[in-house]
């Protein structure tokens, strides 16, 4: 047993988190900033934060992840980090020449009270920001929220600090990407194009964190939302925020600053969430849905219908980030599966509310929990008490899956031990098909493994 100390008996814990189902805000801010073209994320704190975040993102994407740090030492912690950040800005623009530096704070700089707005203003006043270049920021103390809210804060910061309302509307819709893979962002763009709606998608890590091997390291890869696009978001007809936790804050910021109305949707994971996305986007863009999208949808329904017997009633435990696992839970129910245990480390009442909406009618007995105490240790204990047929979650799930001998699907962040997530989308109908394929493969492989010889099936 890998997790040999995990007991079946569940005891209430108040002080100790074991095997968290979340990490801290700054890494989310770093990821979000990578979705802006020509942007260098900057971690205002100790070197360790930046190193850890870069390492984790690198392991997930198997791609270069560039970011700088204010390299706090004890002096900075005592006297404040302004000098470090000013020095960093100077060094960065001269050595790495980004269009934008996106600074996020850490628990350290927040605890000592560094004011990023004030410091960046000073940097500008001191002439440390070259003409046409930008320094933006987001407050992301590690002791609040999670990596998901850190992402949300940086995306909101991007919206707030770039969007300009010129007074004349543009025929375009903002799509604010919740925390999703580059492949997902690429698919959102493809779908929008197929639908015939002009969009500005931000952030957009496609062509950044899925860059080709070319023999050259391109420090600022070709992807990412451009400054011009970001500025234009203030003139867009409306915004669609894909994810109430990770994307909505940016939509609110845009509404506040530029009066761009918004609608918040689930991330388009699974059939119905994609339906809602397509409906909302076609409505926002005033277009009819082309047959090819309807056909793609029909292919997904077709596979679900054809393979329903293998999905029916299968018990699933899942953990991950709220904007992903909320629509995934709905999708599992549409697959006639049974999500039985769900945890998400990210705090917030939206999770509970949305889960209730999905589960109350169709699966009121499902156990779910988020925020403090909603860790993988708890999930594992639940699994020991009420076993499941399938576990879905990030790479750390593999330890539970092996101990409990449960088929396991990698989904979410981080995925450190397999490739594919950054190249093949999970969103949209095609993403739904991929999820169904993965689920079926997991279930059928297990059936094949465990079948008695006389029950080993040729056709399934």
């Amino acid at each position: 047993m890998l997790l040999r100390h995990t007991t079946k008996e569940v005891k209430e814990r108040e002080g100790l988190t074991i095997n968290p189902a979340k990490t801290c805000q700054p890494i989310g801010a770093m990821y979000a900033a990578l979705g802006v073209h020509g942007c260098l994320p900057h971690s205002h704190g100790s070197q360790g934060c930046c190193s850890y975040h870069r390492s984790t993102l690198t392991r997930h994407y198997k791609e270069p992840v560039m970011a700088a740090t204010s390299s706090f030492t004890e002096g900075a912690s005592v006297f404040g980090g302004q000098a470090n950040l000013l020095a960093a800005i100077e060094t960065i623009f001269s050595v790495y020449d980004p269009d934008i530096i996106a600074v996020h704070s850490t628990c350290l700089s927040e605890t000592i009270g560094d004011d990023l707005q004030q410091i960046t203003r000073k940097a500008r006043d001191d002439g440390k920001i070259p003409e046409g270049k930008h320094v933006i920021f987001a407050s992301t103390p590690s002791f609040i929220g999670s990596h998901v809210t850190g992402y949300a804060n940086m995306v909101a910061g991007i919206a707030d600090q770039f969007a300009v309302s010129t007074g004349s509307k543009k025929n375009q819709i903002n799509i604010i990407a919740g925390w999703m893979e580059p492949s997902d962002m690429r698919e959102i763009k493809r779908l929008s194009k197929e639908l015939g709606v002009n969009i500005v998608l931000f952030p957009d890590t496609s062509d950044v964190l899925d860059a080709p091997q070319t023999g050259t390291h391109v420090f600022y890869p070709k992807g990412g939302t451009t400054v011009a696009e970001l500025q234009s978001t203030g003139d867009s007809l409306s915004s669609l925020a894909l994810g109430s936790i990770s994307a909505e804050p940016a939509a609110i910021a845009l509404e506040k600053k530029c009066k761009v109305p918004f609608e918040t949707l689930d991330m388009p994971i699974g059939l119905r969430a994609t339906d809602r996305f397509i409906m909302a986007l076609s409505k926002a863009g005033n277009v009819t849905v082309p047959d090819e999208i309807t056909a793609d949808r029909g292919r997904l329904v077709d596979v679900i219908a054809d393979m329903e017997q293998y999905l029916y009633g299968k018990r699933v435990a899942l953990f991950g980030d709220p904007d992903q696992i909320i629509p995934l839970t709905e999708f599992l129910l549409d697959l006639n599966m049974k999500p039985v245990h769900i945890v998400s480390g990210t705090p917030g009442q939206r999770f509970e509310k949305q889960m209730r909406q999905i589960l109350d009618e169709r699966s009121p007995e499902t156990k779910f929990k988020n925020g403090i105490g909603a860790d993988m240790f708890l999930l594992h204990q639940w699994m020991k008490n009420e076993p499941v047929d399938l576990l879905i979650g990030n790479t750390y799930g593999k330890y539970m899956a092996r101990d409990e001998d449960v088929p396991f699907i990698r989904f979410g962040f981080p995925i450190l031990d397999r490739i594919g997530h950054s190249y093949f989308p999970s969103v949209g109908y095609s993403g739904g098909l991929r999820l169904v394929e993965k689920i079926l493969t997991a279930i059928l492989d297990r059936q094949d493994r465990d079948a008695l010889e006389e029950k080993f099936e040729l056709v399934m």
Binding site: L16, I18, T73, T91, I92, P141, T214, Y399
Partner: protein, 544 residues
Amino acid sequence: MEANTHFPDPSQVREELIQRYPTKVAKKRAKSIIVNDPQIIPEVQANVRTVPGIITQRGCSYAGCKGVVLGPTRDIVNIVHGPIGCSFYAWMTRRNQTRPESLEDANFIPYCFSTDMQEENIVFGGEKKLKQAIQEAYDLFHPKSIAIFSTCPVGLIGDDVHAASREMKEKLGDCNVFGFSCEGYRGVSQSAGHHIANNGVFKHMVGRDNTPSEGKFKLNLLGEYNIGGDAFEIERIFEKAGLTLISSFSGNSTVKQLENSHMADLNVIQCHRSINYMGDMMETKYGIPWMKVSFVGAESSAKSLRKIAEYFGDEELKAKVEAVIAEEMPKVKAIIDEILPRTKGKTAMLFVGGSRAHHYQDLFTELGMTTVAAGYEFAHRDDYEGREVLPNIKIDADSKNIEELKVVADPELYNPRKTEAELEALKEKGLEINGYEGMMKQMTKKSLVVDDLSHYESEKLIEIYKPDIFCAGIKEKYVVQKMGVPLKQLHSYDYGGPYTGFEGAVNFYKDIDRMVNNPVWKLIKAPWEKAGNGAALEATYVTQ
């Protein structure tokens, strides 16, 4: 051995590396970029603050303390006191392997423990939550020991983890609870954390258990963290040679071993940077000499074994060591003979850690490859130039707050394992006791030595030298590979290993052979990207 002459003039290279920096930065960096001369050993600026904004390989004190030194311990519940991230990122990411004897033995390595501090804990203090966490950990797991690691805000808000630990230790009775003030902002790199960890382990663990151990030749293995199973291979060799390993610091170690480690008669140090404090302190307090060894490379492993045998001065042991070497070496040689023609003449760069950038050069040498540039991520001048420079190292503001334990000989347990005369005799036989000659003596003249290499410098170096392989860490891996150069991770070993000892050497040879000769690097350009499209011809060779 001279570096290959077709390389550019290294001092010009140095100019190129710094020319883009702002003047002050350039001036600072220039002191850390040194053209080597093994004869005279120029001074390398090391263990100084990284310029803010520079993209560095370095991490923090917490990473050095919890991540490196304490992480590999199997049966300590290591609770990180702070917001969730620090504990999350250090959760199994260093591949410290461990092998409990049975399913009943404790193994907390796959677990991540954190107090997950929230805003209210920052505002009102987190000690209460910490004590609650300790209590819960105790109730759930009943560990022998609980260690607490402080992250950045902890020191700033004034949580006293030491007091909290003492209080809980007393309350729990049968559990040794102790803390580390390893906040991320301490020092300039992981190195501060190593020192803090050494101090804590020495204070709270070493010497608690005076049970004498069996075994004629008892030693501790210091600075070996069992990444990829390195310690397993060394354990295998020790056992074969008849050496008794009392404790590792800290790969595959247990509380019991660490607490009993002062009963050994020799400390051998693998990673000088992270653990030399422990060697010195145990020498002072218990009279155990330490000796630098390296089990990276087949020749180095053989040499280290011989040194240990020489230290113990036992003929039977010496004979046994020779027998082990005689048995192991032919397998290694056979592989070398097969691989060498494919690796000979190729070049390597190593920028990593505080020890590996030195020792892995041996393996490349065994493969006929030249190290054209190397440097450490968080080492000190002594790791470059040798411990003889120690008296001359100026401690700057960033490091002077790292506690230096005042250690004196233990009134009861001090027992010099060798007399002064014996030590003198060993030195005359070439055994450097309590010493380390550093990396640069071993490197070729005109090779480049760069401390705390920045991202910018690494790209420049690759452009200029086009090495066949680059060794660094995960953050660098895909950057370098995007440039068409394979990168070997020397922290995580690219999830391979072990690379120590004889079997490890073979593993390494094979991996390097695979990497530097991988056909994938020839596939990078699409046929239509190739000049003149003459390649189109090549691309169609399988058609009919």
